[in-house]
């Protein structure tokens, strides 16, 4: 906990001294880490979803629609709305999905996310189709952030909110429900015989994961200022799974570490080899799988053992 707070302090103190593009990358990384965190929580229950961008898109388009149709310009109000829509969407689909495991769970999620993608693409009048929707600079509790500090303001809102949700996720993992979810991965039969409902545990966790991704979608949307249907495309879900494996599932902080490393690796890979950057990412993942099967987070365990 002390180390986590020290790390957070570092992310709060240093950015004003960094170039703006780095602040932007960090904002994106923190925002996307929430969607990855959702995947990591489900992975602890042995569930791998290939469609989690669905909820990321629900969040992003909640912001888009709130601005376009409801005239809501306050970012904090939008965030509350996104919690509601994310919870509603995952509560609805969860009714069906909590019955499935393994490949079926993964691919049904993928299917739903692609259905949303198609809707976002085709209902041009509402969604703006491939053009997407513009997200103007949000107000914060009624105050318009100064243009000179816009990037930094969005960065701080993102980091603080994400940090708060990381704490919520941490409480979740240490709670009876969090442990029941791990128990579900280990042995569903035993969980039922002990008097707990496997389906309820999965359902509740699925909603938590959906809300996290939805908030992540809002934060990423505002930091980019523009949203497109690709936020729900399967490659976006694949990216989240990639980052989840990169970071590891050992801690709720792992998605942040994975997400930051991913954004910078991709950025540099694209800069130095614009035609083969995917190959660079693939190699990175191969190296991680071969040498750090527990993800980057397992490095912390090595350091801890080494210090002792």
């Amino acid at each position: 906990m002390a180390i986590a707070l020290a790390g957070l302090a570092l992310f709060l103190v240093v950015p004003p001294f960094l170039p703006e593009w780095i602040t932007f990358l960090l904002t994106l990384a923190w925002a996307k880490a929430l969607a990855v965190l959702g995947i990591v929580l489900l992975l602890r229950g042995g569930l791998l979803t290939f469609g989690h961008a669905l909820y990321y898109a629900v969040g992003a388009y909640t912001a888009g629609f709130a601005v376009k149709f409801l005239g809501v310009h306050d970012g904090l109000v939008v965030l509350v709305l996104a919690v509601v829509t994310g919870a509603a969407a995952s509560a609805l689909l969860g009714l069906l999905l909590a019955r499935y495991r393994g490949m079926h769970f993964g691919l049904l999620n993928l299917a739903f996310s692609m259905v949303l993608y198609a809707i976002l693409l085709k209902f041009y009048a509402v969604t703006g189709g491939t053009d997407g929707l513009r997200l103007p600079t949000p107000l914060l509790a009624g105050v318009k952030p100064a243009a000179a500090h816009l990037r930094l303001t969005i960065y701080y809102v993102t980091v603080v909110l994400t940090a708060l949700l990381l704490y919520v996720a941490y409480r979740f993992t240490a709670s009876p429900l969090g442990y029941t979810l791990r128990a579900v991965r280990d042995n569903e039969v035993r969980v039922e015989y002990m008097g707990a409902s496997v389906r309820q545990a999965i359902y509740c966790s699925y909603i938590v994961a959906g809300v996290l991704a939805s908030v992540g979608g809002v934060l990423a949307g505002f930091s980019v200022g523009h949203i497109v249907p690709e936020v729900s495309f399967w490659t976006q879900s694949g990216e989240f799974v990639f980052v989840a494996l990169l970071g590891g599932t050992g801690s709720v902080l792992a998605p942040v570490a994975g997400s930051i490393v991913f954004e910078f690796v991709r950025n540099y890979a694209f800069k130095y080899s614009p035609y083969t950057w995917q190959m660079t990412l693939g190699l990175v993942l191969l190296i991680i799988i071969f040498f750090l099967p527990g993800g980057l987070w397992s490095l912390t365990g090595m350091v801890r053992r080494w210090i002792r």
Binding site: R171, F172, A174, S175, P176, L177, G178, Y179, T180, R182, A183, R185, D186, N187, V189, R190, E192, Y193, M194, G195, A196, S197, Q200, A201, C204, V208
Partner: protein, 251 residues
């Protein structure tokens, strides 16, 4: 039908798996606090009886009553909540959790906290309770080990301990000593039996090892092809020629 005296009762319980008869017209009564052993060859319906009582398998016909209440057709979860717990032939543990966490989770679920997502699972009072149970089952040295790393005897004990942590009125044990070396079998039973007798829980255990049944059971039911072929004191049942033929293939 008089429910008084029998804590658990089956009436005409019948179950076929295709052509295989796992239970036919089983009417059994179990008294409060007794320790009953069930013997019988493979496929004679011993485990199916446990599966039917706990709601894992639905009987084709017949009723199951627990404390006079009909529990036929309830889900395993509901049966567990009423106070019937079971352990398994192959220990069913949460292998990636520590022994202590396995037990603490069982205690939290019993307390109805399985859906709590904010207060931590591991609390001082639950830890104390869990440690007490570990001591009773002789598992305290393994408290911090992952359940996946335990030796077989300890796994069997933890499997029973998890069910015991629910403080059931009835405990069903499916071959508590199977997979344990001959030397350790009596160690497992010597640990289990005093704990179970101390709480007055009604215990029904399926067992293949005749010596174990003879030494520990107060009453024995011998199964063959879904029927009880003999019941009574261990000595009498195990001396019965029909039982010996069914179990050992010789009179």
């Amino acid at each position: 039908m008089d429910p008084v005296g029998a804590v658990l009762e089956t009436v005409g319980l019948t179950k076929f798996f295709g052509m295989v008869r796992a239970a036919e017209d089983l009417s059994l009564r179990f008294q409060e606090g007794e320790l009953v052993g069930i013997v019988g060859p493979n496929g004679s319906g011993k485990t199916t009886l446990l599966n039917m009582i706990t709601g894992y398998v639905k009987p084709d016909r017949g009723r199951i009553r627990f404390q006079g209440k009909d529990i036929t057709g309830l889900l395993p979860r509901a049966v567990a909540d009423l106070g019937i717990a079971r352990s398994f032939q192959m220990p069913q543990l949460y292998l990636s959790l520590s022994v202590l966490e396995n037990l603490v989770l069982a205690l939290a679920i019993r307390a109805g906290r399985a859906r709590g997502f904010w207060t931590p699972l591991v609390r001082v009072d639950r830890l104390d309770d869990a440690r007490r149970i570990l001591v009773q089952f002789g598992l305290e040295e393994h408290a911090s080990h992952d359940a996946g790393q335990l030796p077989e005897g300890a796994r069997k004990l933890l499997d029973v301990a998890l069910s015991f942590a629910r403080r059931p009125r009835i405990l069903l044990m499916d071959e508590p000593t199977s997979g344990v070396s001959a030397r350790d079998k009596s160690k497992v039973m010597d640990t289990l039996v005093p704990v179970l007798k101390g709480t007055g829980v009604t215990t029904i255990f399926v067992e293949h090892d005749m010596e174990v049944v003879e030494r520990y059971a107060e009453r024995v039911l011998a199964f063959d092809e879904g029927k009880v072929v003999a019941s009574g004191s261990p000595d009498a049942v195990l001396a019965d020629p029909a039982v010996r033929r069914a179990l050992l293939g010789r009179p």
